[in-house]
């Protein structure tokens, strides 16, 4: 997942940063990341435990152009050792 989001999505206008959540604890606190893996777009849109086949691309498009509707949340918070049922 991290790899897919990383090199696969990076482009001239999509700047991708992969943060080790332990080394980057200050960022984790600042952005209020509660579980990992989490993707934060422009410091405001947060997706917890996304998977590539869900709405990640739609969230990126929404972040770049607020005129595009935000997709329904396709993921649920990551808790304990698995996902909660949708």
């Amino acid at each position: 997942m991290v790899t897919t989001i990383g090199m696969g999505l990076a482009s001239a206008v999509l700047h991708v940063e992969v943060v080790d959540a332990i080394a980057g604890m200050e960022l984790v606190r600042e952005l209020g990341v509660s579980g990992v893996p989490t993707v934060v777009l422009d410091g405001r849109l947060r997706l917890e435990n996304p998977s590539p086949d869900e709405s990640l691309l739609d969230f990126v498009l929404h972040a770049a152009d607020r005129a595009k509707p935000a997709p329904r949340v396709a993921t649920v918070p990551f808790r304990a050792c698995g996902r909660l049922p949708g």
Partner: protein, 146 residues
Amino acid sequence: MDAPVDLTVSVRRSSPLLLPGAAPVEAGDEARPGGGPGGEARPGGGPGDEARRAEQLGREVAALEPRIRLTVTDEGAGEIPAFTVASRAVAGAVRFLGVPRVNGFRAWLEALRRASTGDPGVPPEWARALAALPRPVHAQVFATPT
């Protein structure tokens, strides 16, 4: 590996200042005996240790693969070491904050490979949509070393 990959390691260098009789002090270590901000534990020690590990990792991987062009710099370096992976085969660059470990290390190696081959690993329609973004977006991916 196909095209050369530019790997830039941004780390704070050791402080050149030494007090007579005192042990060398690493930049960023002096006020944080616990390692991280506020004294919490950092993986494997303080920022100076992380910086050394980051530079060592960059040098080792560059020694193994001649198509990796390594630059180690302290320009723009923060407390957390950063690796930037880029190449002419891909449009963008990925920045890794912190020394990659376990799954993060796999992702880091995979990023080096993808940067070289130009294989985005996402569907072509994603690549087209991302290339047409009307304004820049900053994506931060948080992962734990599991």
